[in-house]
Every structure is written in structure tokens, then in C-alpha cells.
Symmetry: C2
Subunit: 340 residues, 2 copies
């Protein structure tokens, strides 16, 4: 069906290799007469030649494609990440194959297997982090990849992560300084790297100000809006509900807001709220949200740059770990505690 080099060659009356050389512009150690060159170019255009990247890829051992594995592209955090990765794709050398895991470990494993089958030149992964054998395998085989937002303590791979503990610490400290003593933590997936870091920060901030941690103040385990909704409900029904909340993730906050709204609680008068969040919309919520927002553009940029370097020399383990801090932005959703 599709036109091949050979067909062009036949039409022009020349060898396929010559056509290849003209079309790819490779004249090193080689030269083609101007006239012939022009004839080949014309024929290719006329015949609507579409180079077969599958064949090129097989020969060149390169797919010119990078695999991206994220939890859910519908989460603006990850969509933004993808866009910022794209921006570092100088000269549009690569295209991107995107996979969603929905935080499902088995899906991730299958996706990565598929990406390897399709011979991605490199992988950018936000890992689910329940298992690490398949990541270890990549590492052992010098397959170029960079972990994003999450990494394995026991494995020194390339990674770009956040200062989660520190970021959470700052947020909680802010609440404490506003006079809050009972501060809730709406947690995301307990097993995930960011959340564990953020919980550590939450705990150490309380400890620093000599406030005991009430386990009933820590709720939730999951990363959907529904999970946030359920977790907030649990908090709301408690007799001495926290006067302030730290919400640990982007999408969860939507559910928390819904629960608060449903319960007729007003922000920040009934409850102060700080959230890790990265939605363009945060400022337009009924009460503009005080947030810790991530430097998504920078995360994408660093990740891609490391990956490019790693792809350039796969045999050398860079083991680059870049750690970035979030931006704490105070808006209207936090207020002095009324007792103080």
C-alpha cells in the first residue's frame, strides 16, 4: 500500500540505498549528483512517500519515542507535568506515549512491559511504589528512566522529587502560628512517597510545638475526590472536630470541599484549610485556597533533562536525585483560631 524507498528507486532507476541517502540528507562519505538528487526528491514528493519509522527504528535501534507513566492524566498535576516535559523536547525529536496507572501496581507493570516491547528510548515514571522489582530490572539493564515525584529509598535511580516533609512542616507551622492546636490531616494513599513525607512533616511540626498527635485527626487513604469526601466526613462527625485541616493532595481537596460545604461549614470561619494543590482554579474556589503548590514546570524540565543525559550514555548510572521545594501561597482559606 504505502510507498517504499524501493518503489522510488525503481521509478527513478536507481538503487534504494541512494534514495535513502538523499532523503535522510546523509551525504557524509558519500555524494549524489545534483540532478539525480533533485529527481529523487521530486519522485518522493510526487509519490507521497511516508518514511516507515518502524523499519527505521528496527534498523537504528531507536523508536524516537519516550514512554510516560502517570497515575492519571485527568489530574491537572500530571497533565501539567506532561506538558512541561514536552517543552524540554528540543527540536521535537521525540514523541510521547502516555500511560495511566490509576495507582494500580499491576497496570503499571503491564504498561512498562509494553513500553519496553515498543522499545521506548526512555521512560519517565511516577511509580505506584508497591512493588519495585520491575523498576529494579530496568535499572539492572541500563534502561534509561527517571522516576518523578516518588522514589525508592533503597534504589539510587535518577529521580526528581519534592521536599514533602519540609513543605508540610511549613504549612502546619503556619496553622499553629494562627493559634490552631487541633489540626487534621487528610491523607492520600498511605503507601505513596509524597504522602509519607508529608505525614512526617505534619508530625514533626506538631512535635516541634509540643502538640500531641491524635490519631483520630489523621484520616483517609486514597487519592480520589471521593476518598477525600469520605475522609472529611469522618473528621466532621467527630465531637471535637479539628479547627484546621491539612489536605495532602491535589484532587482529594475537591472531595473535602464538597463534604465541608455539605456540612454547612464555612472556610475559614468554621475551619481553616491548607492544601497541597495544583489547579489553576484554586484561586477561584468559594474561598481562595491557601496552598502548597509544586513547581510543575521545573519538575518536568529537570526530569526530561536528566533522562536525555541518561539516554545519551545508558551504560553510566547517573543516579541523579533532584529535590525541589513547593511554594507556600497564603490565600483566604486560613484564619486565626477563634479560641486564641
Amino acid at each position: 500500500m504505502a510507498v517504499t524507498l524501493k518503489q522510488i528507486a525503481d521509478k527513478v532507476g536507481v538503487h534504494p540505498s541512494t534514495v535513502s541517502r538523499v532523503l535522510t540528507g546523509r551525504h557524509e562519505n558519500f555524494s549524489v549528483g545534483e540532478a539525480l538528487r533533485a529527481r529523487i526528491l521530486d519522485a518522493a514528493k510526487e509519490m507521497n512517500y511516508v518514511p516507515n519509522e518502524l523499519a527505521r527504528g528496527l534498523r537504528l535501534q531507536k523508536s524516537h519515542t519516550i514512554g510516560i507513566v502517570v497515575p492519571d492524566i485527568l489530574n491537572p498535576l500530571y497533565a501539567g507535568l506532561v506538558r512541561s516535559i514536552e517543552k524540554e523536547n528540543i527540536n521535537e525529536r521525540y514523541s510521547f506515549l502516555i500511560c495511566n496507572t490509576d495507582e494500580d501496581q499491576e497496570k503499571e507493570i503491564k504498561h512498562i512491559e509494553m513500553l519496553r516491547n515498543k522499545r521506548m528510548d526512555g521512560l519517565l515514571i511516577v511509580p505506584v511504589q508497591k512493588k519495585m522489582d520491575h523498576i529494579k530490572a530496568l535499572w539492572a539493564e541500563n534502561y534509561p528512566f527517571v522516576l518523578i515525584l516518588r522514589r525508592f529509598e533503597k534504589l539510587t535511580t535518577n529521580a526528581v522529587v519534592m521536599e514533602n516533609a519540609q513543605d508540610a512542616y511549613k504549612a502546619v507551622e503556619h496553622l499553629i502560628k494562627l493559634g490552631h492546636r487541633r489540626i487534621g490531616f487528610v491523607r492520600g494513599r498511605r503507601t505513596s512517597y509524597e504522602i509519607q513525607g508529608r505525614e512526617r512533616g505534619y508530625r514533626s511540626a506538631l512535635a516541634a510545638y509540643h502538640i500531641a498527635v491524635d490519631p483520630r485527626c489523621i484520616v483517609g487513604d486514597g487519592c480520589s475526590a471521593d476518598d477525600g469526601y469520605a475522609a472529611a466526613k469522618e473528621l466532621i462527625k467527630q465531637s471535637n472536630m479539628p479547627s484546621a485541616l491539612l489536605v495532602s493532595e491535589n484532587v482529594i481537596i475537591v472531595g473535602v470541599l464538597e463534604a465541608l460545604f455539605e456540612a454547612g461549614l464555612s472556610i475559614p470561619y468554621d475551619v481553616s484549610v491548607v492544601s497541597f494543590a495544583d489547579m489553576t482554579f484554586s484561586p477561584f474556589f468559594s474561598t481562595p485556597l491557601t496552598t502548597i503548590s509544586m513547581p510543575i514546570d521545573q519538575i518536568g524540565k529537570e526530569s526530561m533533562q536528566i533522562l536525555l543525559k541518561q539516554m545519551a550514555s545508558p551504560e553510566i548510572h547517573l543516579g541523579r536525585i533532584k529535590t525541589l521545594s513547593g511554594n507556600f501561597i497564603i490565600r483566604k482559606s486560613t484564619h486565626k483560631a477563634f479560641g486564641s
Copy 2:
């Protein structure tokens, strides 16, 4: 580097074709002894065999990949679309290569060229719609594809689109029935299919109720939040600003809200707002938004189903056009006009 069929074959002492047959499970017209079969399977596992999809693709003339071209994956509308397309990917037969055009026609042309080079089995496209030659070419060559949300009147390709005019009509009618007479239209990109349909609907609703269209009420041309912001500003500074607004697109509304907020205008008391929108967040804005929301899941599902059919028989032009209606959801951002 990577293990090949031949290496497995050598190790087991058998021909590569036999290995291929065992590993792909193709035993039609063929059979392999149980013992040998097991030995091959073992060897493959032990040697960590990763099939080369590039080679398979070349041989089979299939990439098992579908190209998706959208304006911007960061727009929840398109991210949702991608996810719903994925849901129709039964048995995970395909993976998806995603390209963003940013509504730039040249980018779209380049992306589609690249997708053809990489031999995508099919294409799902939200076209920029300034040029159509490259789409026509796909069509002429029986390349399987489906246009989404936008289509060319002059080209009967597969497409899944919305009843834009009708949807806008309903929204405007709602405003008119609330007593509004001066109704603004914050337009998106003038050249795009949806926007033209929506403008038609806007105009015909006004006409149906004998309200003259004031060209000053129609503002904007662009699809970013900034465009919405600028357009709303323009409306706000007018002496007789409209008492109600129809906002034509998803992301634009964020800018409009910002402008309104900045001008100290309250919704719906100073101005009623209806928007085409598809964000999970709409209900949580300072005033929950009355919206026309699209059945994204259905759009993705229909698109993928049509594409699958088209891929199954590329030589037959299905020319299927599916038209869907939006859901009009009344929330709190619209109110009776105060004059009435």
C-alpha cells in the same frame, strides 16, 4: 543487547521460527511437542526475553498504537476525552500516542505527519480546522481516523460532534426566560467548529425572542483563560454592560470569573453566567456554575468504537457522523433579571 528469538533458538537448539510459534501461541496449522514447548518457554523467561514490537510491527504492518491529537491535554475536557477513549480499548490491544496542538495548525500538520511515519493503526483528531488538505489526504488514502468535536462540512469523514447550536440555544433561552434582554457572548476561537455552532445558537435564540443582536455583546477570540479575561474586561467596561453572559468554552470561563471577581461584580446578582464547561470543579466555584456540560465519556466511547470499525475495514469509508447533545445543568450562577 536485548535478547532475540534467535538467541533463544540457539540456546534451546531449535529454529527461530519454532520459538516464535511457541511464544506467540500460534499453533494453527502447527504443533510443538509439549516438552520442547516447555523448554522454550523456560529459556525465554530465564533469558528475560522482551519481544521487539518494532520488528513485529514491521512484519505485521501494525504498530498496535493509536494516535490522539488534541488541543491541550491540560484542559480537563481533553484529558477526560483521552481517558474515556482508553476505556474502550478492550483487552488493552492498543497504546496511545498523544499530541497537543495548542490550536496551532502547523503543529497539527507536523504531528499527523509524524504519526503516519510511526504507522499508527488509527488516528483520533480534534482538528484545528484552519486547513484541511492533510485531513483530506488521510481520507483519500483510506487511513483510518475519526474527527472529534469538530468536523469539516465539505468532507464526510467519521466524526463525533456536539449539537452546539441547539445547546447554546437552550442556554440563552433560559437566560431570556429569566428576564435578561442584554446577553453577552464570550466567544472562543472564531474559526472553530464548536464556537461557530454556539454562536449560531446564541443568535437564533435571540432572534426567536425578537431581541436584536448587539455586536458589542459578542467578544473574544481565543481559547485560553487569558483570552476569557480580556474578553470579559471588554464587556465590563461598556456603559450598558450585559446582565447575563454565555461563556463558550471550558477554560475561558476561568478568565471570565477572574475578571468579574476583580471588577467586584457578584454572580448572579450583578451578572448571570452560563458556561460551556467540563470541570469537576464547576460546582465548587464561589458560585456554583450553571453549565452546559458535554457527555465526554460518550464522546470518547463513540469515537473509539467508530475508529475500531474503520480500522477493521479501512477500504470502506464509513463516513459515520454521530451527533450528541450537551446536558444543561442549572446551578446558582443564573438569576432572574432585576428589571423584570
